[in-house]
């Protein structure tokens, strides 16, 4: 078993950390920043050299995500670097992928819909046949970083009800954005699609292929999300530990009170468990796609988020009044963690999936 990073991975980590430290605090993505991210080689971190990457994999991505989490970087990493790029790679869209990995084009997924609580494989959005081509009308909700996108990667259902993945230029006639702000401070928009013309070239893949491609991309995104959550929790843990050692009340560091020591120890355990689960998620990506991954990935998503949120709540509490303010990164990290726990399937969604994967509990007496 190998749990430590290779020399190259350590180097990736150190460079990422140094670069992130050079940014203004709580950096927010724009095109210039995305350019820098591309120049750092992050975008290809999860891909083979043949695809234009650096021959990395989930561990490289996790290293980046964890560092980005620690630095509270707000950028479409899960969306663009992982989910979007994986969709293109899975669909064999080589040229598009190459452009994305070089940072030439920002291509972001538009999967979620209003009135759906994460049902990515059964979008309500219909791709209607129309003469020789197709038309698309409907809404995709809360598309993160939509204003940065050159292309949207849109999920829809065709006339027969099977999944289609589309790649559509953001400036295509009929697409308008309703901008929204997110709990974690990021930007998003609802995508309002009115009679958007879709040609054959816009179709990335459909049917079973589309399901496999989307499923693979979501698996990778889930593991990346876990790594970011661990990074955020690591920051919260570090700041809280530091605070307990330095903040004095009653003439002594508050960390000398045993009531708080035990709380801090519990946070430490939560962090270690979260980190372990995030590694499990990466390992799950090496299993054959499909059933074998379901339970470990959902367990990691729910388990990591629950533990990291606990760290977040306690970090605020143990900081007292200042924990409630934007003077410290505590609140930001907590909001981001809550957003991560609600995104890509919330707690209930993943618990349900774990339970379903186990199958029904037998009622028979014979065991």
């Amino acid at each position: 078993m190998e749990f430590s990073l290779s020399d190259e991975q350590n180097m990736l980590r150190d460079t990422a950390e140094r670069w992130l430290a050079s940014l203004p605090s709580r950096p927010q993505a724009d095109r210039a920043l995305w350019r820098e991210i591309a120049d750092m080689g992050w975008l290809g971190a999860g891909f083979s050299e043949a695809e234009g990457g650096i021959d990395g994999g989930p561990v490289e991505v996790a290293v980046i995500m964890e560092m980005a989490g620690r630095a509270l970087l707000r950028a479409p990493l899960i969306e663009g670097m992982v989910l979007g790029a994986r969709l293109l790679s899975g669909a064999g869209a080589k040229t598009s992928l190459a452009n994305v990995l070089e940072g030439q084009s920002i291509e972001l997924p538009a999967l979620e819909e209003p009135n759906q609580r994460h049902a990515p494989f059964t979008p309500d959005l219909r791709l209607m046949d129309c003469g020789g081509g197709h038309r698309l009308s409907g809404t995709k909700s809360l598309v993160s970083w939509a204003t940065l996108a050159d292309h949207f990667l849109i999920s829809a259902s065709d006339g027969a009800g099977s999944l289609v993945l589309l790649r559509v230029p953001a400036d295509r006639e009929g697409i308008s954005l309703r901008e929204r702000r997110l709990l974690d401070g990021g930007d998003a928009a609802d995508l309002l699609l009115t009679d958007v013309a879709i040609g054959h070239d816009d179709i990335l893949c459909q049917g079973n292929t589309a399901e496999d491609v989307l499923s693979e991309a979501l698996d990778h995104a889930t593991a990346a999300l876990c790594a970011e959550a661990v990074g955020l929790a690591d920051l919260l843990h570090e700041r809280t530990l530091e605070y307990l050692k330095t903040r004095e009340q009653f003439g002594q560091p508050i960390g000398s009170f045993q009531a708080l020591q035990h709380r801090m120890v519990d946070l430490n355990i939560a962090l270690e468990e979260a980190r372990s689960l995030a590694m499990m998620a990466n390992h799950a990506l090496s299993l054959p796609a499909g059933e074998a991954r379901v339970s470990p990935l959902s367990a990691a998503k729910q388990g990591v988020c629950a533990r990291c949120l606990q760290i977040g709540r306690e970090a605020i509490q143990l900081h007292g009044g200042i924990g409630m303010t934007e003077e410290l990164p505590i609140g930001s990290a907590f909001r981001r963690l809550k957003a991560l726990s609600l995104g890509l399937g919330d707690e209930a969604w993943h618990l349900e999936r774990i339970a379903d994967a186990r199958g029904e509990i037998s009622t028979g007496k014979e065991a």
Binding site: E112, R117, H118, L142, R180, R181, L182, L183, D184, A188, E248, Q249, F250, G251, I254, F257, A259, L260, R313, I316, Q317, G320, G321, G323, M324, T325, E326, E327, I330, G331, S332, F334, R335, K338, A339, L342, G343, D346, E347, A348, L351
Partner: protein, 396 residues
């Protein structure tokens, strides 16, 4: 115990209920029910309405403009107004400054300050906490030096809620640095318009700016604004903290938040979701437990006992419960909770699903605070451990 409430108490409850349904302005209760931040004017309009009914300072003695409500009336009043969606009744004047002034102040101070609280014309804030003195309040270092007929105040207070709207602050200051910590503290009333006071807003994690740091730079406060005796302020401060905690088990608010979570579930077609129903049922159990615990304490207080460590117990459970219900409500929203825009929330008029959902997110973020303020829950546990359970202590 035979009946829970006497006939008179039931009548009073109906009266408050009726009053809220006819007098509470709809635009204000909409904001409260949906978690929108309130402006100074929202609080003041409602408090004006209460003041004209004589209910703003209901528990005060009649001599000072109150109704001499007992603990049960206060409880019923809070429960009913909270459920109806009335704004939080700002405690700074009515619950804190007022009782200290009528208990420890002189006649001139009572004449000058009490009417403005009863008729809601003066907005008060609480200047206790400092950067270096939170849980360990006695270590406060804002200094007041006597200079002729005035005190000259230097230092700063922090986490001062709504100081940006306040006309007056009641403030703990150090008047003797040589005495033991608790013995050099005095209780001063400070006009917020005095030269040398600078109020700096602090943004909190919900995106709003209702917290402040207040700086004092050679602020001259008339010596007549000293309440009680110099260096006896700690006694008055502790008296006040007892009052702060009695009303901390906000079961009315807990019920209101739970009902809102239920409507959010319904609006999302989750009315039959067993996970959600199970949690709601558990919260109902918690609310019952908290309510009956509160009622037992009320009975003791009504029978003449001073609020003791039981109020710490209510504070811990009440604040934790609000916090848990608030986070549960966000979980009911699911991915809808990802959208949160403080500006839009505070500008929003009328209520649509989107604002409703942002209001729930807002409450979720802000409700991290009650377990910290008013003596943190850790401090309350220390109090119970030491004073109620008599556990030995290693510290002084």
């Amino acid at each position: 115990m035979t009946a829970l409430w006497s006939n008179a108490e039931v009548d009073f409850r109906d009266e408050v209920r009726e009053f809220c349904s006819t007098q509470l302005p709809r635009d204000i209760s909409d904001k409260v029910l949906h978690g929108q931040p309130l402006q100074r004017d929202d609080y003041m309009r409602w408090q004006d309405i209460l003041a004209s009914r004589g209910w703003l300072a209901g528990f005060w003695p009649k001599d000072y403009g109150g109704q001499e409500w007992g603990a049960s009336e206060s409880y019923i009043f809070q429960e009913e107004t909270a459920r109806a969606g009335a704004p939080w009744l700002l405690p700074f004047g009515v619950n804190y400054a007022g009782p200290v002034i009528f208990t420890f102040g002189n006649e001139e101070q009572k004449r000058r300050h009490l009417p403005g609280i009863v008729d809601n014309s003066v907005f008060w804030c609480q200047g206790y906490s400092e950067p270096g003195a939170g849980s360990d309040l006695a270590r406060l270092s804002t200094k007041a030096r006597r200079d002729g007929d005035a005190y000259v105040v230097n230092g700063s207070k922090i986490w001062t809620s709504m100081a940006q709207w306040a006309d007056m602050m009641f403030c703990l200051v150090r008047t003797n640095s040589d005495a033991r910590l608790q013995q050099g503290i005095s209780f001063l009333l400070i006009d917020m318009n005095t030269p040398g006071i600078n109020v700096q807003p602090i943004q909190s994690i919900d995106g709003f700016r209702h917290l402040n740091q207040v700086f004092f730079d050679d602020v001259r406060v008339p010596a007549t604004n000293l309440v009680g005796e110099e260096n006896k302020g700690w006694t008055y401060a502790k008296f006040l903290l007892g009052h702060e905690r009695v009303l901390s088990a906000e079961t009315g608010k807990a019920r209101r938040l739970l009902a809102r979570a239920e409507s959010a579930a319904q609006a999302r077609g989750l009315g039959k979701d067993w996970r959600i129903r199970d949690k709601i049922a558990r919260f109902e159990v918690d609310i019952h437990a908290l309510e009956w615990m509160s009622l037992r304490l009320l009975a003791d207080v009504t029978a003449g006992a001073a609020p003791g460590t039981e109020s710490s117990l209510l504070k811990i459970r009440g604040s934790s419960l609000l916090q848990e219900i608030s986070e549960f409500s966000v979980d009911v929203l699911g991915p809808d909770a990802l959208a949160y825009d403080p500006q839009m929330l505070s500008d929003g008029t009328g209520i649509d699903e989107e604002l409703r959902s942002m209001g729930i997110v807002h409450d979720f973020l802000f409700q991290r605070a009650p377990t910290i303020w008013g003596g943190s829950n850790e401090i309350q546990r220390n109090i119970i451990a030491k004073h109620a359970l008599g556990l030995p202590t290693t510290r002084v």
